[in-house]
């Protein structure tokens, strides 16, 4: 395509080559063992996020296997009740906090957004590295505790008083609460980076109405993270200090209130669902566009739908609390709100269908995963309407019907698009194509396995099986369905194994992809696969919604950035007119040390309230070290700085 040849010429001229060498010199990640801890480039950190999140996905998946085994037979003793409670809690917490959000939001946006908006790195790269280490340490903490028989066992939302000081002996809920703190801090950091990257670092010409839908999705999610996560930060902090410092937030005898926790938790917990699947729908829009070979139909409608969803998501947290008996007027409002949110989602679905129906559809593996998404996710949306209706919710709430519903929404809305994204962007990340045949096999196994596992859960729920029971009694009419579900797990397991093998093989022996194997329109395809450490040889300019499809025959390129430092271009928020250039910080060890000291403080605070107090000192020191400038760069910058004209 024209634009791609412009940004990374097929045959490099002499000057191009010199330019490339200088950029490589400046941007290459530090080498060696220590270099691993200094890396700050968004592709490096993004890949780490992906791998780590996938490992947690696999671990939590194995726990699910154990649970399915226990539930395959009534009154089975494969897992003790104590173990089972830890298993389902760690499964849920890992899937939500250590896989879904970090994978759908952090991993994908950190890796893709800077490429898609055509810049050389994410804003605040050191913060980015810091956020990854915090996330890693938080996850490790939860799982190491789990292996020490200290696995959280009060459910992924750890309601008080069950998780409170009186009914949660030991340290299990404390580890859960601190794992939340870790992951929240990292997600919040990434949210800020994404907002700034998209608002200020876009390629010249990428005005608001030309931002790729995927990027729009991630921006909406970033804003939701910023406003939703404080809720869970507060609730888990209150839980922790109730347990360690003897505060009385949730103690009815001392004026505390157990519903306060639920309100704060669901203020976060409901937007959380959208935080997880909005990136999914954004992936779907991207893949649908590419594989129906036309611009997305109803771009504006889809973007508005995403934004609307982002706003509405904050207006319906109480529908998780209908059974607690809230005033009827509130019930009515939250029912209405919960049903209204189906409209923007519906609008998106219609736009996708139209795009496919009026395009030239090319059936490739990524599109197969998207079709799977349609079947599964829309079903989840439909069952969501049952939950939005107060009276029906009073029957199905906390039964296996709900378990089925949210697996349809989350696996349908996040995991199917994620695997689609895997086969879609795998060539960009590794430079080689994913084997299509194996990909097909794992798709069908996953699709069939998923429905075998989770569809019967609707029925068993309607037959009165509550969720979170470690066993059930014979003669309830639940046994057969549970065995079907457990069998479905086997298929899912196989599918994921095949996918892993496929990734492993293709990464080594896959066919070479080239810079733009799907002939797609967004900017990440305008550079080589995998992208060089500086992303683009020359920063691109944009002339339309699909940068590469709409590129003018002689689309200009950006020159004039210093190529002896990690400088980047800032553009204006609305029209993306060039505004100035600043300099990215260099790789350094400090974010790692800052994360280590933060982690120490968090873990310490599980055992003593002083953990935070004393832990703050090393945090402060490392942070200062982090921000302290070096001499030469400072002088060089001073030498050639241009002040803005007032």
């Amino acid at each position: 395509m024209t634009a791609s040849t412009i940004v990374t010429p097929v045959e490099l001229t002499e000057s191009d080559r010199r330019h490339a060498d200088r950029l490589e010199e400046v941007w290459k990640e530090p080498a060696g063992f220590l270099g691993w801890f200094k890396a700050v480039h968004h592709t490096t950190i993004g890949k780490r996020y992906m791998v780590t999140a996938f490992v947690f996905f696999a671990l939590a998946g194995l726990l699910a296997g154990a649970m399915r085994l226990q539930l395959a037979f009534p009154e089975a003793h494969i897992l003790s009740n104590d173990k089972y409670n830890q298993f389902f809690t760690v499964h849920g917490s890992t899937m939500m906090f250590l896989f879904a959000v970090p994978m759908m939001f952090e991993a994908l946006s950190v890796y893709l957004v800077p490429l898609m908006v055509g810049t050389r790195n994410i804003a605040f790269p050191r913060l980015n590295a810091y956020s990854y280490y915090l996330y890693l340490f938080g996850g490790m903490m939860l799982w190491i505790a789990f292996f020490c028989n200290t696995g959280a066992d009060r459910g992924w939302f750890s309601y008080v008083p069950l998780a409170g000081p009186d009914y949660g002996p030991g340290k299990r809920p404390d580890f859960w609460a601190q794992m939340i703190t870790f992951t929240e801090v990292s997600a919040l950091a990434v949210a800020v980076e994404i907002v700034v990257t998209v608002f200020r670092l876009r390629a010249p010409g990428m005005s608001l109405n030309r931002i790729p839908i995927f990027v729009w999705g991630q921006v909406v999610v970033a804003f939701m993270v910023i406003f939703a996560l404080p809720g869970v930060v507060l609730s888990s902090t209150m839980l922790l200090i109730d347990r360690t410092c003897g505060t009385q937030f949730f103690n009815p005898a001392a004026g505390g209130d157990v519903l306060l926790y639920q309100h704060l938790f669901w203020w976060f917990g409901h937007p959380e669902v959208y935080i997880i699947f909005i990136p999914g729908t954004a992936i779907v829009s991207t893949i649908v566009t590419t594989f129906s070979r036309r611009h997305m139909f109803g771009y504006l409608m889809v973007v508005l739908a995403l934004v609307a969803t982002g706003f509405m998501a904050f207006g319906l947290w109480v529908h998780h609390m209908f059974a607690t008996g809230i005033p009827q007027i509130a019930e009515s409002y939250f029912t209405a709100a919960s049903m209204t949110i189906a409209i923007p989602t519906g609008a998106q679905v219609f736009c996708w269908i139209v795009t496919l129906a009026t395009g030239k559809v090319v059936l490739k593996p990524p599109l197969w995963w998207v079709i799977g998404f349609f079947f599964v996710f829309i079903m989840g949306g439909m069952t969501g309407i049952f939950l939005a209706s107060v009276p029906v919710d009073l029957q199905v709430h906390d039964t296996y019907f709900v378990v089925a519903h949210f697996h349809y929404v989350l696996i349908g809305g996040a995991v199917f698009p994620l695997f689609g994204a895997l086969s879609y962007w795998f060539p960009k990340i590794t430079g080689r194509m994913l084997n299509a045949t194996l990909d097909q096999v794992s798709f069908w196994l996953f699709f069939i396995g998923f429905n075998t596992t989770f569809f019967p859960m609707h029925l068993v729920g309607l037959r009165g099986m509550p969720r979170r029971v470690y066993t059930y009694q014979p003669g309830m009419g639940w046994t057969v369905l549970n065995q079907v579900e457990s069998f479905g797990y086997v298929l899912l397991f196989l599918s994921v194994c095949i996918m892993l093998w496929n990734v492993y093989r293709s990464a080594r022996h896959g066919t070479i992809a080239g810079s733009n194997p799907w002939n797609a329109g967004t900017l990440e395809w305008a550079t080589t696969s995998p992208p060089p450490s500086y992303n683009f040889l020359y920063l691109p300019t944009v002339n339309g919604r699909e940068a590469l499809w709409d590129a003018a025959p002689n689309q200009p390129i950006v020159v004039g950035l210093h190529d002896d430092v990690r400088s980047f271009l800032t553009t204006r928020i609305l029209d993306a007119e060039p505004d100035g250039h600043e300099e990215f910080p260099s790789p350094t060890m400090w974010p790692f040390w800052a994360a280590v000291s933060t982690g120490a403080a968090f873990v310490g605070s599980i055992f003593t309230p002083w953990g935070i107090t004393f832990g703050a000192i090393p945090i402060a020191i490392t942070m200062i070290g982090w921000f302290w400038p070096e001499r030469q760069p400072a002088e060089r910058r001073r030498a050639r700085e241009i002040w803005q004209s007032e």
Partner: protein
């Protein structure tokens, strides 16, 4: 909607799809409406999707260049999408109204001449009280709620420890029992029978074994039952049961349980005054018979690990007599 639940070996005594009271049946109607609407919509949408992909798909190895989009076809599409969104809104509105109607119908159940029953959630059993203005007439039992058919019942509940959820799907939707809150749940049973309920909010180690039964019977049977429950326990008649009572009063049992008419008066565990009149023990877990009772007393922990009932190292004869005595507590 029973077809969703009907399977051989499924008694249908714990499902929202087999309503036996106004509460559950209002809900079941809304459920049915939403079910049919969503099912039809789902099928239509999927059909359209599959057809349009099928009509437009090409199995090419190379990706063709992007197609130009024609303005007028997109305008037609826009109109179609607008219509689709309109229809969605209307359908959602319909379902919303029916949902409101159901809520309203349930909320307007008559509080006046309702029979009040107190239910307290414990880890992991249900304490049931039938209050009465005369203290000696008030009844305390556990895990079995007898109700007269066709009478509005007011379940006035709260929790003694963590959050539990009172749920008998055939009769009425669930309602959480929260520490620090008093909750009222109105219900009515129209057909005599035994309906199973279960705690629906995760409450710890034995959440899985926290069931109860609603026993709906004619007003006369109910009154008869209630009078029976109001009596104190009969004094032991035979030397064996007498010894059994001694065992009860001199061992761990007395630390937690009440038997009205004896010195045992602790409220930690279920009231055993009429234990033998109940059909199950251990919160609906085991049928109430000699073998189960003996096993339960001997080592409840290996039947229901983590429950509050300690294992008791009783000698064989003591155990026999104790069980014999407990079985006299009609």
């Amino acid at each position: 909607m029973m077809f969703l639940a009907a399977v051989p070996g499924f008694s249908g005594d714990q499902t929202s799809l087999n309503p036996v009271g106004p509460g559950a049946s209002h809900i079941e109607h809304t459920f049915a409406l939403i079910f049919w609407i969503t099912a039809v919509v789902y099928i239509i949408v999927m059909a359209v999707l599959v057809i349009s992909i099928w009509r437009r798909h090409h199995s090419l190895d190379t990706m063709p260049d992007p197609q130009p989009t024609s303005a007028e076809s997109d305008q037609r599409a826009q109109r179609m999408v607008a219509v689709a969104i309109g229809v969605t809104t209307v359908l959602l509105f319909t379902m919303m109204i029916s949902s409101f109607a159901a809520s309203r119908a349930i909320a307007t159940m008559n509080y006046e001449q309702a029979l009040t029953i107190h239910v307290f959630g414990h880890e992991w059993w249900w304490e049931v009280q039938y209050p009465s203005d005369q203290a000696w007439k008030s009844v305390v039992t556990a895990n079995e709620i007898h109700v007269p058919v066709g009478v509005t019942i007011r379940i006035h509940g709260t929790s003694r420890d963590v959050i539990h959820s009172f749920w008998a799907p055939n009769v009425q939707g669930k309602r959480d029992l929260l520490p620090g809150y008093d909750t009222d749940l109105m219900l009515k049973v129209d057909q005599p029978g035994r309906y199973r309920g279960q705690c629906a909010e995760y409450c710890g180690e034995q959440h899985a074994h926290m069931a109860f039964y609603i026993v709906a019977q004619s007003q006369d049977d109910f009154n008869h039952w209630l009078q029976g429950q109001q009596k104190s326990a009969p004094p032991p008649a035979t030397p064996q049961t007498l010894h059994g009572q001694q065992v009860f009063l001199t061992h761990a049992c007395v630390m937690c349980h009440t038997i009205r008419g004896t010195t045992a008066g602790s409220r930690v565990g279920p009231d055993l005054t009429h234990l033998a009149s109940r059909t199950t023990i251990a919160a609906g877990m085991l049928p109430n018979n000699t073998a189960n009772l003996a096993g339960w007393i001997l080592n409840a922990q290996n039947i229901k690990p983590g429950c509050r009932m300690p294992p008791n190292g009783l000698s064989g004869s003591d155990l026999q007599d104790l069980v014999a005595y407990l079985e006299t507590l009609q």
